[in-house]
């Protein structure tokens, strides 16, 4: 029997993979993809909670699913802006490696 805990564990592992990607990789595109993985891990646990909390009407808690809908929208906007910044950066510096972009480093 699949429990709520199974979904939460899977979502936690996915979040940790995304987190490790952000910390380990130096390519900005891969960092953006790992950010997407983390956002989706959060979505998975939200939807699992939505299914777990069945309302008296016998339906899942749709408030959470509306929240997930908003998260997906914001994530799509974030990817668009992030990739536009990446293109502008590539035009200026001809690199997508975070190690080469350290002008602001203290």
């Amino acid at each position: 029997m699949i429990t709520l805990g199974d979904y939460l564990i899977v979502s936690g592992i996915l979040f940790a993979i995304g987190f490790a990607g952000v910390m380990l990789r130096r390519n900005l595109i891969i960092i953006l993809m790992s950010l997407e993985l983390m956002l989706n891990a959060a979505n998975l646990s939200l939807v699992a909670f939505s299914r777990f909390r069945v309302l008296p009407t016998g339906l899942p808690d749709y408030n959470v699913q509306v929240f997930v809908f908003f998260i997906i929208t914001v994530a799509a906007a974030e990817v668009a802006v992030g990739l536009a910044i990446l293109v502008a950066l590539f035009r200026a510096r001809q690199t997508t490696d975070v190690k080469d972009i350290s002008s602001l480093k203290f």
């Binding site: 699949i2 805990g5 939460l8 993979i17 987190f19 790992s34 979505n43």
Partner: protein, 167 residues
Amino acid sequence: MPAFLFWIFALLMLIFGAAVVVNRNPVASALSLVVSFIGLAALFMSLDAYFIGIIQVLVYAGAVMVLFLFIIMLLDLRAEERRKISWLTSAGAIAVALALLLQIFYVVGHFKSAQQPFPPLARSTTDDVRNIGLLLFENYNLPFQIIGVLVLVATIGVVLLSRREPR
């Protein structure tokens, strides 16, 4: 949904999610991300969230992935050359990720509700989209419009950012 389907899709999602991080070639990473998101969409559908599952496939496997692949092809990014890996940084990153994972395991292990199976739904939720739509346009009308403004601002920002500077 049978238990083995849950494990198949969860493993698919996690393996290809790890492949995103491990792959050296950005195109291979982007394609792994698609497979990972499709596994995630299947998990959403296993939770009776059909609308969210469809949105996941449309927005991520469709729009976002095309955007990623387009940028990778446009910038003509090759596989990264091997650089000297800073072992201290890598070990630190993996240690922090593992600590996070252990905390999640601990919290979920001590969470009473997490051991219970999902309660049954009263009836099949085939009118998922209708329920979410009613909620979205009645209770969450203002946030919905704010999201619309956000997407507009993002569009204008992208156009401004990617415009070539007139010299």
